[in-house]
Symmetry: C2
């Protein structure tokens, strides 16, 4: 349940294709988008396999996992392993990736203070990007 890194894990055509597609993508992709792109590329891979492979990669820390505004799971190849959060525009969906050492520290300290372990956290910012902001008018 926690030992898998080198145990099994065969090198298959499908896994390579999925990793390549993920690497080629600049941003986040849903499993289905990735599946479509592979099909478009002429690579035949089952949707189930895409889902499963992405999960496996995510467990191994090879990809970042989060959710888009609609609750769908989205994946991205892990950029140097450091994790960050997102600032999303409520109006147009535009998103910016932001670092957040402060939040990481806060999460860790708060959890420890309350005796929690194995802590993960979510922190998303929602607002109106400058293109969507009604200038000079404070929202709501």
């Amino acid at each position: 349940m926690a030992e898998r890194a080198e145990t099994g894990l065969r090198s298959t055509r499908q896994r390579h294709a999925i990793e390549r597609a993920l690497g080629a993508a600049r941003g986040f992709r849903t499993a289905q988008e990735l599946h479509d792109e592979l099909r478009r590329d002429g690579v035949s891979v089952g949707l189930t396999t895409v889902y499963r492979t992405l999960q496996t990669l995510a467990e191994g820390g090879a990809v970042d996992v989060l959710r888009n505004g609609e609750g769908e799971v989205i994946y991205r190849r892990c950029t140097t392993g450091e994790h960050h959060h997102h600032l999303v525009c409520r109006a147009c969906g535009h998103s910016v990736e932001v670092a957040s050492d402060d939040v990481e520290r806060w999460a860790g300290e708060t959890a420890t203070h309350h005796g929690f372990t194995s802590v993960t956290h979510t922190a998303e910012l929602y607002g109106l990007c400058h293109s969507c902001s009604p200038e000079g008018r404070p929202g709501k």
Copy 2:
């Protein structure tokens, strides 16, 4: 599409019940949890109606909408004032409310830096409370 406040909108038993339940709830609720609580309260309201009413309230800005870690939509009565975050135990569901000035400041600064306005944020911590922690064994 933006004019509805007084147009239609009848005052029904169901809508009142849902609003009351939301007000009584301390934190976020999924539509289904709310539905269960209403049933438990002896109030008969259709699940469909709960979903629809929550959507309507959300559109009107009366409730905050976000998603829990599993991608489910969760609602909370809009408390534009003070807010806090939650540290939730993954295993038993126990939750602790935590203040977080650091996060508030980070959210504000980050948003401003990127030109966003009307920013709100969510920050939830998920972990294992000390009762559920496998002592001495790091998770996963």
